[in-house]
Amino acid sequence: MKERLKQAPPKIPDEAKLSWKKGHGDHPLDRYLKEGRIPHIWCPGCGIGIAFTAFIKALEKAEFDQDKTVVVSGIGCSGRAAGYLNLDTYHTTHGRAIPFATGLKLAKPELKTVVFSGDGDLFAIGGNHIIHAARRNVDMTVICINNFNYGMTGGQGGPTTPVEARTTTTPYGCAEHPFNLIYLAKAAGAAYVARWTALHTHELRDSIVEAMSKTGFSFVEVITPCPTGYARRNRLGTGLEIMRFYKENSYITDILEPEDTALLFKGKIAVGKFVDIEKPTFMEMYREYIVQQAENSG
């Protein structure tokens, strides 16, 4: 690596410099952002930026090695987070961030692997992958932005849309039962499960630190406002008004069973840590059981 540093940089023709802008701001967290990538694409009042900030504050607080932390995302508004981070980041196909991250982690176990994506990406098109990654207990952290709809495509209903809620594809109100992500993650075998809202910035940051420090499959759900999509069609108000709603209607609990944390339309929001257990990871099992056996038989 050091020898490479001494070599001259390649000459980049001007036409190759399509989108790259020189210069950084002077915000203390700027070192976690890719140079020239801000402003981001998220709408005013959107909660993804808050969750994104909580994530980089977690990196800062726990001093996670930027060279060894990898973020993988799927498709959607939340999926764009990967592109702003000054880390190795992969913006993959819709729903496939978790299996992509599984490959990264198993091929290079020293990488701290984080999936940052949305509820539709992770639980509809990617639903099969999250339950199997949790079952295998692959050592990774999944941060799921839950805004109850598909924001990128203009606000369609999805696997977390509450009954009654209106979206562009549930114009008469949603008549499907939504997933309770906390209960699902626990049932699938996650070692750590927590839920916070975009209002709980400090708790969220600390929870992400805890999740990333956890050896095993950790899952953090972040309830966020989508003023442009979900909130507008349900007359929930601006981003600020939704934050006020979170303040009045969320409650921190450590006694509720995950099955009792379902989110109803305009209902109370149980937040906190719901699962924190120890169990061997995929790689621990692989090394201690399979490789041992293979060596004995080889």
Partner: protein
């Protein structure tokens, strides 16, 4: 354990097993897959072999996940592969497109069976040739190799890993049920005699590295996850920095390069095998298991004094265009007979390359069995007369 890495020596194994051993010999350390007939044996052998050689085998929940995991592992620097057949190959198309766009080297073994849909799980077909080339949406080029024996299954799998790394592209082994389940002698040479070519590393440090800026061959050096380069890779159309740019200009630059890095290197990539072409008037073109029967027909015809030659395609994609155009322009060449187990796939490429200079005839068989030499001989005889 090191002695187990490459099983140097002579073995009596199937084409499927030979693909797995080819992967091991090429230094594959990651396999993600899903069971499917007639490719399951590749996964089974890898599940046994990889833990012996310090690699990781993981059985994923489906082929979508298998392909995604393979790309993830390769992004972290592992030589990674998967294996499948028709229905699973269809599912892999999504992320084969991602591998093309992210320029992540990987190897996909497709042991072709009869389709469409569930089709003939246990019986042969060669119906995925066009899917290998065009199956994922959008414009791209890919490399596909077609073995005609277990020995070649071993050798081409090694080559596939090298080509994938050289061109940063998914490479598909287009084998078939007959070759995959055929047991033959496979000779594996000493480790040091197996040619391994790795992907290019960045020539400069992270400060000056532009991750998708290509060298003269059209292929950018690859920085791996965890190496400190902080690379962003996206399936969106992107610029040389890897950042999404949703414009016609960026699309033109990127897709042109993705296509050209294969097309312009056609002559370096393409391999064929020739029999009796010098004075041939009719040339049989075939590949995979069909090539074995074709060779028998050519020998019979030649024995009877007929001017019949044979071109076996080892590389199917990029298509051996220059080779076939050259043959079509020869005065003595009157016709090509393309023998394949499908309704006509490679025949369309041959017809395109022949460009009217030679007649192109399909000897197509529907699958479920390999055709008898007599069946192909009749077609050849008719054309020759």
């Amino acid at each position: 354990m090191k002695s187990n890495t490459v099983i140097t020596g002579t073995h009596f194994i199937t084409g499927d097993d030979a693909c797995a051993e080819g992967g091991i010999a090429a230094g594959c350390t990651f396999f993600a897959g899903y069971p499917i007939t007639p490719a399951t044996e590749v996964a089974e052998r890898m599940s046994k072999r990889l833990p012996q050689v310090g690699g990781v085998y993981v059985q994923m929940e489906d082929e979508l996940a298998s392909m995604a995991a393979v790309i993830g592992a390769s992004s972290a620097g592992a030589r990674a592969m998967t294996s499948t057949s028709g229905p699973g190959f269809s599912l892999m198309m999504e992320n084969i497109g991602l591998a093309v766009m992210l320029e992540v080297p990987c190897v996909i073994v497709n042991i072709m069976r009869g389709g469409p849909s569930t089709g003939l799980p246990t019986l042969v077909g060669q119906q995925d040739v066009m899917q290998a080339r065009w199956g994922s949406h959008g414009d791209y080029e890919i490399i596909a190799l077609s073995p005609s024996s277990p020995q070649e299954s071993f050798e081409l799998t090694v080559d596939a890993f090298n080509l994938a790394d050289i061109y940063r592209v998914p490479v598909i082994i287009l084998s078939d049920e007959i070759i995959g389940h055929m047991t033959e002698k496979v000779t594996i040479s000493e480790t040091e005699k197996i040619k391994i070519v790795h992907r290019k590393n960045p020539a400069c440090g992270p400060e000056n590295f532009v991750p998708f800026f290509p060298d003269e061959d059209g292929v950018p050096p690859m920085a791996l996850a965890g190496d400190g380069y902080h690379v962003h890779a996206t399936g969106l159309t992107h610029d040389e920095h890897g950042y999404p740019v949703i414009t016609a200009d960026a699309q033109e630059r990127l897709v042109q390069r993705l296509v050209n890095k294969i097309r312009k290197n056609e002559e370096k990539i393409v391999r064929t095998e020739e029999y009796y072409l010098d004075d041939a008037e009719v040339i049989i073109i075939s590949y995979g298991c069909s090539a074995r029967t074709s060779l028998d027909v050519v020998e019979t015809a030649h024995g009877k004094g007929m001017k019949v030659g044979f071109l076996r395609l080892i590389t199917i994609w990029p298509f051996p265009e220059t080779k076939i155009r050259g043959l079509a322009s020869r005065k003595n060449v009157k016709a090509f007979v393309v023998a394949e187990i499908n309704h006509g796939q490679v025949v369309y490429e041959v017809e395109r390359c022949a460009a009217g200079e030679a007649e192109t005839v399909l000897a197509g068989f529907m699958g479920g069995r390999i055709f008898e030499p007599d069946e192909l001989y009749k077609v050849v005889q008719e054309i020759a007369n």
